[in-house]
């Protein structure tokens, strides 16, 4: 081995290490830039909410990039119901919770019963039910707004929380049936059969065996239904009109009735309204991933 090849080899090693380093830092740099862009893109509208909420009424459109006189006044107004659009704020907050919990309960109850019948009781033509459910899942809910508004009045449910609960349950149940029938396939049928031999009736099998084993799917779908009900606007607005029956979403959009509304109060209301779903989302993130992400490429 001559000296020149050794030198060349060392040189080559140095060069490739340098090359590797440039490449590595280049990739890291690109990642950092991308990350920064993602932060700015995601957070700007959220920062804008806080900016308006923390400003005083006169300062809102003054062109400041941060509140010149930051104040919690608008939050105080919302919490103490000190503005006439917000006079029943906590009552409406309670309405939102009530609607959310009822929709969650009914969706879980109706959805799990239906998928139990199709999947576990060997219902003939059960696929038709699943297909009908998929159709409802896929067709945009907003297109049914006009007929549903009329029909709720025919049922005598105008301006009644039950109308919103039923409408939203209808839209959440198809998704529940899907997730439940997918998840239910992983529970062995032998469990049902042995319980049946021991003399359990279908209700006992459903309640004592099926539901406990389905709990991960129940949590995922329950979170989905609760978020759907809390975040929904169109049906809340159409079906609820009096301050007594309104939910927070409707109360919030009331500010748009006038061009001169106190937008800082509106943004403070919006932030308070957005907190429960965000807490719920980050609290149940891992559980929701079980069903919500539609992941899993099985084909």
């Amino acid at each position: 081995m001559s000296a020149t090849t050794a030198v060349r080899r060392v040189g080559h090693r140095l060069h490739s290490r340098l090359h590797y380093r440039v490449r590595r830092y280049g990739v890291e740099g690109v990642c950092l830039l991308l990350g920064l862009a993602i932060v700015i893109w995601s957070l700007t509208p959220i920062y804008n909410m806080w900016l308006i909420a923390l400003s005083l009424h006169g300062d809102i459109f003054s062109g400041d990039l941060w509140p010149s006189n930051p104040s919690l006044e608008s939050f105080r107004v919302v919490i103490y119901e000190d503005f006439w659009y917000l006079a029943r704020f906590w009552h409406q907050f309670g309405n939102s919770f009530y609607v959310g919990l009822m929709v969650t309960f009914l969706t879980l109850f109706i959805g799990s019963l239906a998928s139990f019948t199709v999947g576990r009781m060997r219902l003939r033509n059960g696929w038709m039910l699943t297909n009908a459910a998929l159709m409802t899942y896929v067709i945009p809910a907003s297109f049914l707004a006009i007929p549903i508004y009329r029909i709720m009045q025919i049922y005598g449910l105008g301006d009644h929380l039950v109308s919103v609960i039923m409408a939203l349950t209808t839209f959440a149940t198809p998704y529940a049936i899907f997730i439940f029938s997918q998840y239910g396939k992983s529970i062995p049928m032998e469990l049902d059969e042995s319980a049946r031999i021991d003399g359990a009736n279908p209700w006992q099998i459903y309640f004592r065996i099926y539901l406990p084993l389905m709990s991960p799917a129940l949590v995922a779908v329950g979170t989905y239904a609760l978020l759907l009900a809390w975040n929904e606007y169109l049906y809340n607005f159409l079906l609820l009109s009096s301050p007594e029956s309104m939910t927070v979403a409707v109360a919030l959009a009331q500010f748009l009735n006038s061009d001169e509304s106190p937008w800082n109060y509106m943004m403070a209301t919006a932030i308070i309204y957005a907190l429960p779903p965000i807490i719920l989302y980050y609290g149940f993130r891992r559980h929701m991933a079980a069903g919500l992400t539609m992941g899993g490429v099985k084909g």
């Binding site: 990642c31 991308l34 990350g35 993602i38 893109w41 995601s42 509208p45 959220i46 909410m49 900016l51 308006i52 459109f61 062109g63 400041d64 990039l65 109706i110 019963l113 239906a114 019948t117 009781m121 060997r122 219902l123 003939r124 033509n125 009908a132 409802t136 067709i139 945009p140 297109f143 049914l144 007929p147 549903i148 029909i151 039923m166 349950t169 209808t170 149940t173 049936i177 899907f178 997730i179 279908p202 209700w203 459903y206 809390w230 975040n231 606007y233 979403a249 919030l252 937008w263 509106m266 919006a270 957005a274 965000i278 989302y281 991933a289 992941g295 899993g296 490429v297 099985k298 084909g299």
Partner: protein, 306 residues
């Protein structure tokens, strides 16, 4: 003897071979099982009949008059509405899905700060649509809005009044739509990428597929079906999008940036023509029905978990 064992000619058979008569629905169950099944089944059927079938039939009945459609197509605003909806679906959905797909590749990099970033990136999706879009509206309002103030302060550019111009207002809607919904689909694709077993990549690397080739020959073919199904599903939902157009641009300028859902809504509830509103929505069925059929076939063929 031989005549009785002869197979029945196919033209006499009432249905194709292999089909046997079976009692429908609850026929396979017996006694109390059957009543339990009916009782379990009843709540969903009741909800389905009362809040899906009845409204759909009622809606079709309301929108069945052909004269409504003549009136509808005579409205110049309706044609812009259709165009806006098609642009939101064509541009919004596709850009969103494509970017979400690319970003999902970034978010699967096993790195601590990228994981933390994903949590932050999901915030627009975790936020309810109404406050998010209200904030975007006031951010883009023009003079005194945050975006224009920032442009003025940092770059000395006098920003436009976004909602006074049709293309800008429509772009504002589409961008807001992408902002709100891209995180969700990114998460779906992240889950899809995570589900690809690592040994496929290792085998591909042995065969020389790395870098861009790994993407075109391994990752993309494996996720193509998921991508197609997600795009179809998102298209169907976006055709009925209400909140974006209603809150970001509120139809400005002069109700030119409405989508089908907001147009139908304003026709029915602001102007008092519910039948025209129904007709506006019904006119989208030629687009919706084929897409639904395509989606259902795809879902059944590939067993992608919804």
């Amino acid at each position: 003897m031989s005549s009785t064992t002869q197979p029945i000619p196919h033209y006499i058979r009432p249905w194709p071979s292999g089909w046997t008569w079976r009692p429908t629905w609850f026929g396979g169950l017996h006694g109390s099982e059957r009543s339990w099944a009916i009782a379990f089944f009843l709540p969903y059927v009741a909800v389905f009949l009362a809040f899906i079938v009845y409204p759909v039939v009622y809606g079709i009945w309301l929108g069945s008059d052909p004269e409504l459609y003549a009136e509808l197509f005579g409205q110049p605003r309706y044609l812009t509405t259709v165009l806006n909806t098609l642009l939101l679906v064509g541009v919004g959905v596709n850009v969103k899905m494509f970017l979400a797909f690319l970003l999902s590749g970034f978010f699967v990099i096993p790195n601590r700060w990228i994981k933390a970033l994903l949590v932050l990136y999901m915030l627009p999706w975790a936020l309810p649509a109404l406050p998010a879009f209200l904030s975007l509206h006031w951010m883009l309002i023009g003079y005194g809005g945050f975006l224009n103030s920032a442009l003025e302060t940092w770059f000395g550019i006098a920003g436009p009044i976004w909602f006074n111009s049709y293309p800008l207002a429509l772009s504002a809607n589409i961008l807001s739509y992408i902002w709100k919904w891209m995180p969700f689909w990114t998460l779906v694709f992240v889950a899809g990428r995570m589900a690809i077993p690592q040994d496929i990549y290792e085998a591909a690397a042995v065969d020389g597929a790395t870098g861009i080739r790994r993407f075109t020959f391994v990752t993309f073919p494996l996720l193509a079906n998921l991508y197609l199904i997600c795009t179809l599903l998102s298209t169907l939902w976006t055709v009925g999008d209400f909140t974006t157009a209603y809150f970001v641009s509120s139809g400005a300028p002069a109700l030119q940036t409405e989508t089908l859902a907001t147009f139908g809504f304003r026709m029915a509830f602001d102007q008092g023509y519910p039948r025209v509103g129904i007709a506006a929505v019904m006119a989208s069925l030629p687009l919706l029905v084929p897409l639904t059929i395509l989606l259902m076939r795809r879902v059944q063929a590939t067993e992608v978990q919804l």
